[in-house]
Symmetry: C2
Subunit: 340 residues, 2 copies
């Protein structure tokens, strides 16, 4: 049986190749009757357009997907840059999918990746994600998944993280060394394992320094900007407001600065702030923002490198790797001097 192609379809139907091609693309130029005839024969003969056929032949789409909660955060845009660098060197395209912190959207995206659209997936899970079945399910289709930054410990695959516990510990210890007495940790999620490691580091640093539990508050600000603003405002307007804050994500820094300005709380004299952030604005804020800076580009590169190693060992089954890259505490003016 010879391969069914546009030419053979056209010949069989007594139409031009152009007409058949347009009919298959549902062109407005072709009548419904003709489209019907073309589609009927195409189905009958199991015709597939060339790109799909070639995709089957190559068995590779030369595309990888990056699935992340958002791109407004500098961490993710820098990580993607690292991924793109590695992918480009391998001649691969990179598709980016955004989950907007929805586990439902994340699951649907991974289902969408089952059909051969991509060869592999780099995933940083949403703040709602509490199960890894969708990841395992995709890997059952021989599409490897590498987790980065926000990982699920139980997922049996490679994971690239930063030293979340250690860096939160160091940031908190730094605040304690600056004589902060009342500490607060601001988070956007109580689900993320990454965040729980950071909270653990925060609490342990203070426990090691004999802080009372009341002096080590964890505040869940939610992922909604307006809600987060209200919660932080209430915290900073309260009589027992903290004098030291560890903010777990970049987007929590602008509201802290804005609210301190509005409430005439001086940073760093009355409140010291350290934020997990890769923003280029950190050094130009007044005062400049002390950050835990993640090696975002390097994490992206490491994740992509492991994914391509997995793809090379086709079948997608290689021993999972765990890579932990260190973050850097960059001390700036927002934590300088002694607390009042």
């Amino acid at each position: 049986m010879s391969r069914v192609n546009l030419q053979s379809l056209a010949k069989e139907l007594g139409l031009s190749v152009a007409t058949v091609s347009k009919a298959l693309k549902d062109s407005y130029e072709i009548s419904i009757e003709t489209k019907g005839r073309v589609l009927a024969l195409a189905r009958q003969l199991n015709y597939t357009p060339n790109p799909y056929a070639s995709s089957l032949r190559r068995k590779r789409s030369n595309t990888i997907a990056v699935v992340v909660p958002e791109v407004a955060d500098s961490f993710f845009s820098q990580a993607i840059r690292g991924i793109e660098e590695v992918a480009q060197s391998k001649g691969y395209h990179v598709l980016i999918y955004l989950t907007y912190e929805s586990s439902d959207k994340e699951r649907k995206i991974l289902e969408d990746c089952q059909n051969g659209r991509v060869d592999g997936v780099l995933l940083s899970v949403s703040s709602q994600t509490d199960s890894h079945t969708h990841i395992e399910h995709l890997m059952d289709y021989n599409i490897p998944v590498v987790l980065f930054d926000r990982v699920l410990e139980k997922a049996h695959t490679s994971k690239i993280t930063t030293d979340d516990y250690d860096s939160a510990y160091r940031a908190t210890a730094h605040l304690a060394e600056c004589n902060c007495q009342q500490l607060a940790y601001l988070s956007i999620s109580d689900q993320l394992e990454m965040n729980n490691h950071r909270i653990h580091g925060f609490r342990q640093a203070l426990a090691d320094r004999h802080f009372s539990p009341e002096a080590c508050r964890v505040i869940h600000c939610t992922n909604d900007t307006a809600t987060a603003h209200t919660i932080i405002q209430q915290l900073l307007a309260s009589p027992n407001r903290p004098d030291g804050i560890v903010a777990s994500v970049e987007k929590l820094a602008p509201p802290v600065y804005a609210i301190c300005h509005a409430l005439h709380i001086n940073i760093p004299a009355q409140l010291k702030l350290v934020c997990f952030s890769n923003t280029s604005y950190a050094p130009v804020l007044q005062p400049a923002l002390t950050t835990v800076t993640q090696p975002a580009t390097e994490m992206g590169k490491a994740a992509a490198t492991i994914l391509f190693k997995t793809l090379k060992n086709s079948g997608g089954v290689v021993k999972p790797e765990q890579v932990v890259l260190p973050s850097a505490l960059q001390v700036r003016a927002s934590t300088s001097g002694m607390a009042t």
Copy 2:
């Protein structure tokens, strides 16, 4: 002729369905000999895996692509949010491709979109792009392309822009009203039509106020962060430094603040700054940054809405629309008071 499927392939080959499936996915569990037999028969019978076949049947991938230069810029991340909102309501996936300002990468991405991977494309062109043939070429495949923000006038398709000329004119007039005498416009590209409209608005506002050409400098800072920093540093360290700056993109604001701080140039007393920017840091900078804020989310929504309208009128041929949404000049402290 009945449809060739995994079951019929397995029966013909005397193998299990699982083995055939794994062989087609190039699993390491299957021997090369078996893979060879399976692939040979699959090709002979024109077998296509279900997703591709169903894609042919539906003729739709239910996916649109967003092709943008970068996502580190708040404008693009907000525009993508608007696009996602509309796409989600239509049950569509959104893929994001990044060009990193390379016209070559942009062309390759659009070629990659020809194969039915996506039903339509939303494109904001790279700063190197000076031809629209790759856009027309993709539309020849009946895949509609809607341009947004950074458009090419000559491309025969729908375009969503903001009022680049008017908003640059207003921003510049605002600086003149603040008594700035020496104006500079900072750009990252001398190719982008959008940028040229803004430059035109900048020049016209000053011509209308009888500024000499020497007092209306246009400085191309390039897209490289380090180079831009050097160029801005030279500008601000020179004896005839400007006392008013219009920065055309968000990422040029941090270096201006950093360099002014280092050179002890007071904003706004000695230098007034207005920046095209959607960053959430604008109000918390010291002084707060005056911005031309683009309706990013609305532009994304408008672009996606027009794309879906085009997709509905299948064939992708509808009368191109031109939508211009107004930007807002948000005056803050970086342009307050009188120039020295």
